[in-house]
């Protein structure tokens, strides 16, 4: 009896932080319930729950406006509710930021971000966000427009993200040089036929010129050696001081192969760079010899500077991965170049450079292209643009542009 009276009083009085925390944790409990009851193997079950949640959330836009004077709506769209619900989302995100996804998968969820507890924790946060947008949607004065830009921008981006998640097509096409392919594979290795054909003309991997490094045997180091890298790109005549040694490049061959104790220049695409160097130790002792990082045809070479010290050439760092591809689509053929930070678009699909045969490096016989169609992207970009506009106006306020 007494307990019932307390509970009644708890919800009847002014609604604030305590009640908001209860709702937030209730959403977490519901999420845990779904985790065990529905799980993740039933797309129909998940879809039904998520559609209902979205319908309820959409109604918050209208409720927030139409019932803005109601005490409950004031509370749901107010700051205590916002703080409690966002803190819960933040707390779960913290788990995702610290615990590796492999551990989370051991708990039965594909990832923290698609786990029921996270999805359900988003529900009160979005209810607060959408309700408050409805509440502030009119009149369109400066203050409300600023509010709408930042808050509705976030809401639109999240809605776009949800549309993306539900409709995203992400597949890979493994292309071998000169062989046309229309087949793409999804993450579950299911193959589908794409509405276009891709033919790899050439895969190119450019590297930066190599550098040198001094390696010292060190049992306490993670790889058993303490390495000090030089910073100069190799070229004949280059002079550099690395870890106390004066190192001079006497000869540099960008593509070389070893012949006995020396290296000669070769025209092969897969050949590795090599350099003849002279190193002068701090005590004046001189060492001279060949160094190379090695490659597909040759093993590497290092110059011994002492029992536990050597001058070596680390593998050159990649500068560019690039696939030249012929595209046959809708009866026309054109050529495109796909590279990291340089996508191509074909028939509504974006093509990205994803992978290659790492062991073969520049001689990789294939290139893996990622094919993405994201129908939610325009909505996401609209939301982001609104957020950017809101942030710019807030910054203008921050530096005192408008009081």
């Amino acid at each position: 009896m007494a307990s019932s009276a307390v509970r009644s009083g708890f919800w009847d009085g002014p609604l604030g932080y305590a009640q908001a925390w209860v709702v937030a944790f209730a959403s977490l409990v519901v999420g845990l319930g779904f985790h065990f009851a529905i799980g993740y193997d039933s797309p129909a079950g998940m879809g039904a729950v998520l559609w209902m949640a979205w319908a309820l959330l959409a109604s918050m836009l209208v409720i927030g406006r139409a019932m803005r004077t109601s005490q409950v709506v004031q509370w749901i769209t107010g700051i205590p509710f916002a703080v409690a619900s966002t803190s819960l989302v933040g707390a779960i995100a913290l788990v995702g930021g610290v615990v590796p996804q492999s551990v989370v998968q051991g708990w039965g969820a594909p990832s923290v971000w698609s786990a029921w507890p996270f999805l359900m924790a988003l529900f009160p946060m979005l209810a607060n966000l959408l309700g408050s947008i409805g509440k502030r949607s009119w009149p369109l004065n400066y203050s409300n427009v600023l509010y709408i830009l930042s808050h509705a921008g976030l809401a639109v981006a999240i809605v776009g993200g949800a549309v993306s998640g539900a409709t995203l097509e992400r597949k890979t096409m493994t292309l071998f040089e000169g062989q046309p392919s229309q087949l793409a594979e999804d993450a579950q290795h299911r193959q589908t036929k794409m509405p276009f054909t891709l033919t790899l003309r050439e895969f190119r991997m450019d590297t930066f010129p190599p550098t040198l490094a001094i390696a010292r045997r060190d049992a306490s180091a993670p790889d058993g050696a303490h390495v000090v890298n030089g910073s100069s790109f190799l070229k004949a005549g280059a002079l550099e001081r690395i870890d106390g040694y004066k190192v001079e490049v006497l000869e540099f061959l960008p593509k070389a192969a070893s012949v006995g104790s020396r290296w000669i220049s070769v025209p092969w695409k897969t050949a590795s760079p090599a350099a003849r160097v002279r190193a002068t130790a701090p005590d004046g002792e001189r060492f001279e010899g060949w160094v190379s990082c090695g490659g597909v045809e040759s093993s590497g070479a290092a110059l011994e500077l002492g029992p536990d010290v050597a001058l070596a050439m680390p593998r050159p760092r990649p500068r560019k991965f690039q696939s030249s591809v012929d595209v046959d689509h809708g009866g026309t053929r054109r050529s495109v170049v796909v590279e990291v930070n340089g996508k191509a678009t074909v028939g509504g699909y974006d093509l990205y450079q994803l992978d290659y045969d790492v062991a073969m490096g520049a001689a990789s016989p294939y290139s893996v292209i990622e094919v993405v169609r994201d129908r939610g992207l325009p909505v996401v970009y609209l939301g982001m643009a609104m957020m950017l506009a809101g942030a710019t106006l807030h910054l203008w306020h921050g530096i005192g542009g408008r009081k």
């Binding site: 913290l94 910073s231 930070n341 990205y352 957020m387």
Partner: protein
């Protein structure tokens, strides 16, 4: 080295100004030293950029240089804009501390820039973040200092104690938002995903959320300075974890956002 000396000199001059009756003269000397330090720092970054042939923004050590320069520069500019010198000494100390850290642990900088970083978004994304981190760092430093001072002197805090740190947040948080969005645009261009909950992205989200929480709490509880200042300290701790701590976390191996040379 010169910048560190100038910033330490400026800190000393601000200290003398606080104790002296001829305030304006010492304050002007301090302002001048601070500005000269900032010029030296900017020259260092320009020289690094020129020598490396790429923006010096790739590794943690390189971004530390930017931070060391941005904090005093921003402190001076915003101090002039907000008509206060209250943050200048702390800004100089923070800049000197970060620069000294880099001088003590010099990082071998090479000229390579991996394909993922060769994007028009690279410079705006990182620079906007560095300026945001500077404003938010200053804000939290002042918040922490105010809290410690009030505990030490057993003096009650006043809501006006939050004014300056709050103004810095109103500069830093919009920039943090821009940095986050620039990163999303860039990720879409480079990898085809604008958001993947990569550990670094997750911590960037947490940092953003921490400051959003502060902002909302402040709106409702502007008369509770200890709560506001405490949240700013928590926000900065999150920011530091995002910047430096992620690499040491169990999730670090899942991140594609680690660009320090192995």
């Amino acid at each position: 080295m010169t910048a560190v000396a100038l910033w330490l000199g400026a800190t000393a001059a601000y200290g003398v100004d606080a104790l002296s009756s001829r305030k304006s003269r010492w304050a002007l000397v301090a302002d001048l030293l601070m500005a000269l330090g900032a010029v030296c720092g900017i020259a260092l970054i320009a020289a690094l950029w020129h020598n490396l042939g790429r923006p010096p923004l790739r590794t943690l050590g390189e971004t530390r240089w930017w931070y060391a320069v941005a904090v005093p520069t921003l402190g001076l500019l915003l101090g002039w804009r907000f008509q206060t010198r209250a943050m200048n000494a702390l800004a100089c100390l923070m800049g000197a501390m970060f620069a000294t850290l880099n001088l003590q642990h010099p990082e071998a900088m090479d000229r390579t820039l991996m394909p993922a970083l060769q994007s028009p978004w690279f410079v705006p994304h990182v620079v906007v973040y560095m300026v945001a981190y500077s404003a938010l760092g200053l804000s939290s430093l002042i918040a922490g200092w105010t809290l410690v001072r009030s505990l030490w002197a057993k003096k009650a805090l006043s809501p006006s104690d939050v004014d300056l740190p709050h103004r810095l947040v109103t500069v830093g948080l919009p920039l943090l938002t821009c940095g986050l969005l620039f990163g999303a645009f860039w990720a879409k261009e480079a990898w085809g995903h604008y958001w993947t909950w990569d550990p670094k992205e997750t911590w960037a989200f947490l940092t953003w959320f921490a400051y959003l929480t502060y902002l909302h709490v402040r709106l409702r509880h502007s008369v509770r300075p200890a709560l506001n200042l405490g949240l700013l300290v928590v926000g900065f701790a999150t920011l530091m974890l995002c910047w430096f701590g992620v690499n040491a976390m169990p999730t670090a191996q899942e991140s594609v956002h680690t660009y320090t040379r192995d």
